[in-house]
C-alpha cells in the first residue's frame, strides 16, 4: 500500500469511529439543529416584527446567520470530542501505533463536516417550513453548499486545534464558546450599518460577515460579487491555520 492509501485507510477507520459516536450519542446532532432552530423561531417571530430589513422579509435575511450559529455549535462539539480523546488517553494509544499521524484528527474533521452539513440541511428545512423562500438557481445552490462545506471544514480544523491545545473537555467547551458569540457580532442577524461605528470596525471586517452576506445573496438568487472571494479567502486561511495549529499541538503533546 502507498502512503496515501494507508492514510485513507486510517482516516476512514477514524471517521467510522466518529460517525458511530454521533449515532450513539445523537444529542450532539440534535442540539446542533435544535439550538439554531429555536433561535430562528425566536428571532423571526419574537423580534422579527420589530426588525426592519430594507427590501425583504427578515427571515430571508436571518437564515444565513442561523447557519453560522449551527457552525459555531459544531466548533464546540468537535473541540470537546477531540479534548475528550486526549483526556481519556485513547489518542495516546493511537500514537503508539504505526498509523498515519493525523488520521485521528482527519476523522474528527470529516465527521464534524458531515454532521454540520446534515444540521445545516435540517435547519434550512425548518426555515422553509416557517416561511423562508430561497430563490437560488441550481448553480447558486451549489455555491451555498460549497461555501457552507468550506466554512464547516475550516471551523472543524480550528476546533481540532482548540481541542488539542486545551486538552480538557471543559476547557475546550469554554474556549469554543467564543465561536457561538461571533455570529452576533457580525452582519449575520442585523446589517452592520445599524451598529455604532466602533463596533462596525470589527463586525464589518470579521469573517462571519462576508460569509453571511455571500450565502444571503446566493440564496436570494443574486450575485454576491467580490464578497464571495473575501468569504472564501477567510475560510481557506482559517482552515490552514487550524490545520497547522492542530498538527503543532499534536506534535507538541507527543514530545513531552
Amino acid at each position: 500500500m502507498t502512503a496515501l492509501t494507508l492514510t485513507l485507510n486510517d482516516s476512514s477507520v477514524m471517521l467510522r469511529r466518529v460517525l458511530r459516536h454521533t449515532t450513539r450519542n445523537p444529542a450532539t446532532l440534535i442540539m446542533s439543529v435544535l439550538l439554531p432552530a429555536i433561535l430562528l423561531l425566536l428571532l423571526d417571530f419574537g423580534f422579527g416584527g420589530a426588525i426592519r430589513i430594507p427590501g425583504g422579509d427578515y427571515i430571508d435575511y436571518l437564515v444565513p446567520g442561523i447557519v453560522l450559529m449551527g457552525a459555531g455549535y459544531s466548533v464546540s462539539a468537535t473541540a470537546v470530542a477531540v479534548a475528550t480523546d486526549i483526556s481519556e488517553g485513547i489518542i495516546d494509544r493511537f500514537r503508539t501505533m504505526a498509523i498515519s499521524r493525523t488520521a485521528v484528527l482527519t476523522g474528527h474533521v470529516v465527521g464534524s463536516l458531515l454532521r454540520g452539513l446534515i444540521g445545516t440541511a435540517l435547519v434550512m428545512l425548518i426555515a422553509v417550513a416557517v416561511g423562508f423562500r430561497p430563490t437560488a438557481d441550481p448553480l447558486r445552490w451549489l455555491g451555498v453548499l460549497g461555501l457552507t462545506a468550506l466554512m464547516l471544514f475550516a471551523i472543524a480544523w480550528v476546533a481540532a486545534a482548540i481541542g488539542l491545545a486545551t486538552g480538557t473537555p471543559a476547557g475546550a467547551a469554554g474556549f469554543a464558546g467564543l465561536f457561538q458569540i461571533l455570529p452576533f457580532l457580525s452582519g449575520a442577524f442585523v446589517p452592520t450599518e445599524t451598529m455604532p461605528g466602533w463596533l462596525q470596525a470589527f463586525t464589518a471586517n470579521q469573517p462571519m460577515t462576508p460569509i453571511a452576506s455571500t450565502l444571503r445573496a446566493l440564496l436570494a438568487g443574486e450575485s454576491p460579487g467580490d464578497t464571495a472571494w473575501v468569504a472564501v479567502a477567510w475560510c481557506c486561511a482559517a482552515a490552514l491555520l487550524g490545520y497547522l495549529g492542530a498538527r503543532r499541538a499534536y506534535d507538541r503533546r507527543a514530545s513531552r
Binding site: 500500500m1 494507508l6 485507510n9 486510517d10 477507520v13 467510522r16 469511529r17 458511530r20 459516536h21 450513539r24 450519542n25 481519556e88 488517553g89 485513547i90 495516546d92 494509544r93 493511537f94 500514537r95 503508539t96 501505533m97 504505526a98 498509523i99 507527543a254 514530545s255 513531552r256
Partner: protein, 337 residues
C-alpha cells in the same frame, strides 16, 4: 542468549524542567522474557514506558525496542509493540467488539482476519457476553481486559503493560497474570511495571528496581531476595511503654512509634521466636500481635532504598505499614493512606 535483546536501554535520561525523572538508566530485556520494572509511585516507571513506546522523547541515551531506535524509527517500533497503559485507552461510546474491529482496521488487517482475531480475543478475555454492549456499561475489570485485548490484536512482539493490575479485583488480576504468562510462553517479550512485589515475584523472569530515576538493583527474583540476609519478626505492642521496654530489652533497634511496632531480624525459626518471646516475657513486656516475615522483595526494597515500596518517596521510613509474609496487593492498597 545469542538473540539480540528485545529491549535495550543505555544511559537514558529525562527531566521535566528542573525535575529529573530518569537519571541514567541502563537495562536489557531478553526476547521472550517477562521483565518487571518495580518501583514506588513517582519513581519514573511510567516515564520509561512512555519513552520506550515512542510517546515521549528521551533527553539523552539510547533506547532500542524490537531492534529499532525509538527516536530514529518510531514507526518501526510502533509496528512491533502493544501498549496497555495505566489509564484504559478504550473508546467508551463504542462496544467492545467495535473497539477491537477498529484496532484491526488500524492494523490494516483484512476484514475476515479482524473478525477471526476479535472473536478469539473476546473469548479469551471472557467478554463474549458483553461484546455488543457499549464499553461505558463495563466494569473496571472488563474495561482493563478489553484494553489488553486491543493491545494484542496486532500480535505484538513486545508488549508493554504499565501497572496493568492497579485497582483490579483479584479475579481480573489473575486473568492478567495468566495472559502475561501465556504470551511470554508464546515468545512475546513482556515489559511490565508494577508497585506490587507479589506481582513481580509471580510473573517476572527478571526484575529491576527503579527508585528516584535510577535502577538500584536488577536480577532474578531469587537473586534479589538473596541480597537481603534474612527475614524479621514484627511485634506490635498495646502501648508506648511496652514498646519502649521492648526496645531496650532487644538492644535499641529503631521502632515505629506511630504503629507501635518493632522489627527484629530473625530467620523465622520456631526456636529463635521462642527465645525472643522468652526474653520479653522475663521482663513482663506485653506483646499484642506477632508476625513472622520471611525475606521477600519488600525486604530487598527496604534494604536498598530505606523505604517500604508502597510509599511515596517523600515519606519517611517510619510510616511503613505492617509487613506480613502473605501480604497481597489488596493489603498493600489498604495500607496506603
Amino acid at each position: 542468549m545469542s538473540d539480540p535483546p528485545a529491549i535495550s536501554v543505555a544511559g537514558l535520561r529525562k527531566a521535566y524542567g528542573e525535575h529529573t525523572v530518569l537519571d541514567g538508566v541502563d537495562l536489557d530485556v531478553a526476547a521472550g522474557s517477562v521483565f518487571c520494572l518495580l518501583g514506588p509511585n513517582g519513581a519514573g516507571k511510567t516515564t520509561m514506558v512512555r519513552i520506550m513506546t515512542t510517546l515521549a522523547r528521551a533527553d539523552a541515551g539510547q533506547v532500542r525496542v524490537a531492534g529499532h531506535d525509538v527516536a530514529e524509527e518510531p514507526d518501526a517500533v510502533r509496528a512491533a509493540i502493544g501498549v496497555t497503559g495505566q489509564f484504559s485507552a478504550v473508546d467508551k461510546l463504542l462496544t467492545g467488539e467495535e473497539n477491537l474491529v477498529m484496532m484491526g482496521g488500524l492494523h490494516r488487517l483484512a476484514g475476515a482476519e479482524t473478525r477471526r482475531r476479535t472473536a478469539r480475543l473476546l473469548a479469551r478475555f471472557d467478554l463474549e457476553d458483553a461484546a455488543r454492549r457499549p464499553v461505558a456499561t463495563y466494569s473496571g475489570g472488563m474495561v482493563r481486559r478489553l484494553d489488553l485485548a486491543m493491545s494484542l490484536i496486532g500480535e505484538p512482539r513486545v508488549l508493554f503493560l504499565d501497572e496493568p493490575t492497579a485497582g483490579l479485583d483479584p479475579r481480573s488480576r489473575r486473568t492478567m497474570w495468566q495472559v502475561a504468562g501465556d504470551l511470554a510462553a508464546g515468545g512475546v517479550t513482556v515489559f511490565l511495571t508494577t508497585q506490587y512485589l507479589e506481582e513481580a515475584d509471580e510473573l517476572a523472569d527478571r526484575i529491576a528496581l527503579l527508585d528516584h530515576g535510577r535502577l538500584v538493583a536488577e536480577g532474578t527474583p531469587d537473586e534479589l531476595k538473596r541480597l537481603v540476609s534474612g527475614g524479621h519478626v514484627s511485634l506490635r505492642f498495646p502501648d508506648e511503654a511496652s514498646l519502649a521496654a521492648a526496645v531496650s530489652a532487644v538492644g535499641g533497634l529503631p521502632a515505629d512509634r506511630d504503629a507501635l511496632t518493632l522489627r527484629i531480624p530473625s530467620d523465622g525459626s520456631v526456636a529463635s521466636v521462642k527465645t525472643l518471646l522468652g526474653r520479653l516475657d522475663e521482663q513482663a513486656i506485653n506483646v499484642k500481635t506477632l508476625s513472622i516475615h520471611t525475606p521477600d522483595l519488600d525486604d530487598v526494597f527496604l534494604a536498598l532504598t530505606g523505604r517500604a515500596p508502597d510509599q511515596a518517596p517523600d515519606h519517611g521510613p517510619d510510616h511503613g505499614p505492617d509487613h506480613t509474609s502473605d501480604h497481597g496487593p489488596d493489603q498493600e492498597e489498604a495500607a496506603t493512606p
